[in-house]
Amino acid sequence: MTVKDIAKLLDAEILCCEDSTDKELHTACGSDMMSDVLAFVKDQSVLLTGLCNPQVIRTAEMMDMVCIVFVRGKLPDENMIKLAVERNIPLLSTKHRMFTACGLLYSNGLHGGAMN
């Protein structure tokens, strides 16, 4: 599945880094708690979150994640988009809620990865 496929499945808008949306992705995680993302996530390439502040971009950057999906229609501000562009991390926004967004991706082949 690519970032583009995710956008299609979630009926999501791609907000930046359109050039980097062909990367192949296999795993994802969903959380509003960046502390937990930093502590429990390992090698997941998509972050689904309802939290909308610059630390979401920073967390994804530190964890080498490929793209971020904002759920529940959350929209990042200009400052966040600028940060994401600098780090080449595509940002997506979907109106789906967290559970539905995760379920749609899971049932289409994206997995949670190993527990650690």
């Binding site: 502390s35 502590a39 610059p54 630390q55």
Partner: protein, 141 residues
């Protein structure tokens, strides 16, 4: 890369949105040095957690990063309130972060345990009312 490179950062607690700038800079510098991705990742996560901690708990502080051919040393130095009980602070899930920090996505009580997890060596020196120094080492070889 034969000598030790030292990087210094001043971390301000005034703007939470800027927390992580130092870690981000270190990460991009390490990438340019072509260090192994796993080493870069460990340093980035451990330092970012530390930087966030400084902003949340300690009114900011100073971070020194020493890069030698064999290891990366990250020293987080603050003049914050100090940690009363280090063992308790190291317990996963224990947090003294206020609610407004939780609403920003942090304060799950995983910061210090996670810093230990991602560093090969970690030590904490803290005096209540004086400040805290956390030293983390990540081995390159």
């Amino acid at each position: 890369m034969s000598n030790t490179i030292t990087l210094k950062y001043s971390v301000s607690s005034e703007d939470f949105t800027r927390a992580g700038e130092a870690s981000s800079d270190v990460k991009s510098k390490l990438k340019k040095m072509n260090l192994p991705p796993e080493v870069i990742r460990k340093v980035a996560i451990a330092m970012y957690e530390g930087e966030i901690n400084m902003v949340i708990h300690a009114n900011g502080g100073e971070i020194t990063v020493e890069i030698s051919p064999t290891e990366i040393v990250i020293i987080l130095d603050d003049i914050g309130p100090g940690i009363k009980d280090i063992e308790q602070a190291m317990t996963a899930g224990f947090s003294t972060a206020p609610d407004n920090i939780r609403s920003l996505g942090f304060g799950a009580g995983m910061g210090l345990p996670n810093m230990q997890k991602y560093s090969d060596e970690m030590s904490i020196k803290s005096t209540v009312g004086v400040g805290t120094t956390v030293t983390m080492k990540v081995y390159i070889k």
